[in-house]
Amino acid sequence: MYSLHLTPEQLEIRDTVRDFAAREIKPLAEKSQRMEAVDRSPMEGVLTQAAELGLRTLSLPEDMGGAGADALTSVIVAEELAFGDPDTASILAETSRLARVLIGELMSPAQRASCLASLQKNPASQLAWASSLTGTDLGVNYHHPAPPAQMSVTATKSGNNYVLNGVSRGVANAPTAALIAVSATTDAKTKLASKSLTLLVPRGAEGMTIKTHASGRFVGSNGDITFDNCKIPADHLLGKPDAGATVLATLSRLDAVPIRQAVNLGIGRAAYEAAIAYGKLRVQGGRPIIEHQAIALKLADAAVRLETARAAIWAAAWACDHPDARSDGSQSHLPLAAIARIHTAETMYRVAKDCAECFGAMSVMRDMPLHKFVEDARRFLHADGGITEPKLALAEAIAGFRRD
């Protein structure tokens, strides 16, 4: 039965994280030296505190030491963390979602024990997944059969090792990960993703170098990983030797959880709440500017956008755990993750911009938060190929076009 009630546990974790973000994260995150888009190194202290609160392993099953959170809870937590600092939120969410499938589903008992120990050892360390998948070029392939997916990293068997070569670009958490799941194709000629396997590569493996993106188009920690004859023992293989495709599919399904959209929502809310507070303080023409229609209309539009974006994100997250709502007709058959991504990206950028405008010249200063909200929201609008591709993917679903 339809209900928008959160469970007492969800309400409690939301309040806890909200409080943590306000008290521990925001004061550090909004120090002027961290506002600069160019210097956004992860805040290790905060990551450690968050790990101790269990946020790094939020989605890991309870019997493995996690909180066993469902997708809905994970987006609620991501929004709250991002309200404090979107980088911290992105880093923790990436580890948490990977922990759920890597540790919870795909690792062998031995791999699991080793991975948990490594995370335990350093609470600021994270997990990452280098998919190595190259672009889908959906623009040019819209409504045409697309060429099969390819990979930019190859894995060649050599004795008891796999040898990795190539570059995987734009890997979230690469700079901070203790362990990186690297997907690679075994067919160096065709580079087909259908011939993939996934290896667990520990930080510091010989032949692996990580180039951190100091700035650019990413929120969170991000980097390119280069493999140059990087030898990985065969027992680091994830899943059975013939299960490469299943492993890749399981990892790819993670993208349906609208975590990044929740981070963007937190950014928008931070801008909105800042504008409300400032609107009550700042006097113009003899009255606080929140009493001016011009500001009122901006804030009202922002509220509508925040509420509708949150609803889209929650619906997409909940649907990940409840496929039956689609099959019984309760929910749309369209890709809800694409809808959440398009709507959130478009609306949060407007929210951040409109709210920043309430601050006048302060809105463009790099050492003040407003500018950072706008920059961060803009990254989501243009990240990962922008929102034209998700729109085209959605249109293919609308038309009933199937590329598989």
Binding site: E36, A37, V38, G135, D137, G139, V140, N141, P147, H213, G216, R217, V283, Q284, G285, G286, H292, A294, I295, K353, A356, E357, G360, A361, S363, V364, M365, R366, D367, H371, V374, E375, R378, H382, G385, G386, T388, E389, L392
Partner: protein, 394 residues
């Protein structure tokens, strides 16, 4: 009806285009990338441009300038801005206030400052209005004596003693002379209690404070001006005491007119740059073996970008011509407000065309979006839009 340019206008346009392409464009991205806002300024480009006349372009030939008309001003600003919006603004900021020197200053003041301004290639001007707690109330004055300018000036014999600070002041940190609104009567609304002063940078008790660290227009300096018992001779008062706001009403020098035109003309140049980027990308970048220009989404974005750019250009040129004809019309104010919407949409669409490109390819597109962000508060905030309409509708 004639949209062609005369020879003088064409000559200035070509000179600006050449300087922009050969001198400004090569340094633009590098200056933008400098992280410390104190170090983005480059005296070399200012000196080169000054020697070509771009710094002193609007001062009347009678005083040693070039006296270019508003149409030429708009053309030059757009051409320079196509290579770098902030560098264009650094030059035109001098035009804005050299209008004032030649029109409202007295002979003594002209002698002391205008000559130096003309001769010194590094003589850059600014004006201090905004304060940390008073921005829009200076633009739409209200009847409350507590609203607006708070920086105090008190008479002491032949001098005035100034205390207080200004924020976000253009060319702060590099300027040699500032015009300054100071409160000389705090018992009345700013309309009747503010005086305009000339403040040389070496005035005792005056210093530059923090350099503002903007997301866009990195080259362009904005700083705090700090006054701690600064001593300014009475001879540096412009017009009447308490007359700053009254005076500006009667300013027929075109300084006010220019202000509206300036940002709109600059925006045209940035839009041109964005269109050029997108066209070049569409013609050369491939996706899945096909050029981007074959994709409808790209074509539709370029159509919108070009239509907005051409509409803004036509409107700006009309506003400039009206200024030259001394036509009183709201065109320039509307163009300024509107240039915010056009510029931000065009630069965002250009960035969207780069979505599938590498971050490196998008660096320049990203700069244009950041540069356009300053329009929000300089040209297009709701207070300025309402001010334009209130003048029309009353």
């Amino acid at each position: 009806m004639d949209f062609s340019l005369n020879e003088t206008q064409l000559a200035w346009q070509m000179k600006a285009r050449k300087f922009a392409a050969e001198e400004i464009a090569p340094i633009s991205l590098a200056r933008d990338a400098i992280l410390d806002p104190k170090h983005t300024w480059d005296w070399d480009i200012i000196k080169k441009g000054s020697k070509l006349g771009f710094r002193t372009a609007v001062v009347s030939p009678a005083f040693g300038g070039h006296g270019i008309d508003f149409v030429t001003q708009a053309l030059v600003m757009a051409e320079l801005a196509k290579a770098d919006s902030a560098i264009s603004k650094a030059f035109s900021q001098c035009w804005k206030w050299s209008h004032l020197i030649s029109t409202v200053c007295n002979e003594d003041q002209k002698k002391r400052f205008l000559k130096a301004f003309i001769e010194d290639d590094t003589f850059v001007l600014g004006k201090g209005i905004t304060e940390p707690t008073a921005g829009s109330d200076n633009r739409i004055p209200i009847d409350d004596p507590k609203a607006g300018v708070r920086l105090r000036a008190e008479r002491q014999g032949d001098h005035w003693i100034l205390n207080g600070e200004k924020a976000f002041i253009a060319n702060g940190g590099v300027g040699k002379l500032f015009f300054l609104d100071a409160r000389t009567d705090s018992s009345v609304p700013i309309r009747d209690g503010v005086t305009l002063f000339l403040i040389p940078a070496d005035t005792p008790g005056f210093r530059f404070g923090k350099q503002f660290n903007k997301a866009g227009w990195r080259f362009y300096m904005n700083a705090e001006l700090i006054f701690e018992n600064a001593r300014v001779p009475h001879a540096n008062v412009i017009g009447e005491v308490n007359g700053a706001y009254r005076k500006s009403k009667g300013d027929t020098s075109g300084g006010d007119l220019f202000g509206d035109l300036e940002l709109a003309a600059n925006a045209v140049g940035v839009c041109d740059c964005a269109v050029e980027q997108s066209l070049a990308l569409a013609r050369t970048k491939e996706q899945g073996g096909k050029l981007l220009k074959e994709q409808q989404s790209v074509q539709l974005r370029i159509n919108r970008m070009m239509a907005l750019t051409e509409a803004l250009r036509a409107l700006v040129m009309r506003a400039a011509w009206e200024h030259d004809q001394k036509v009183h019309a709201p065109t320039a104010a509307l163009a300024m407000n509107y240039s915010t919407d056009v510029l931000q949409e065009v630069t965002e669409l250009n960035l969207s065309n780069h979505d599938d490109a590498s971050p490196e390819m998008a660096v320049h597109a990203d700069k244009l979006v950041r540069d356009s962000s300053v329009w929000s508060h300089l040209a297009g905030d709701s207070v300025q839009r309402m001010r334009t309409v209130r003048r029309i509708i009353k």
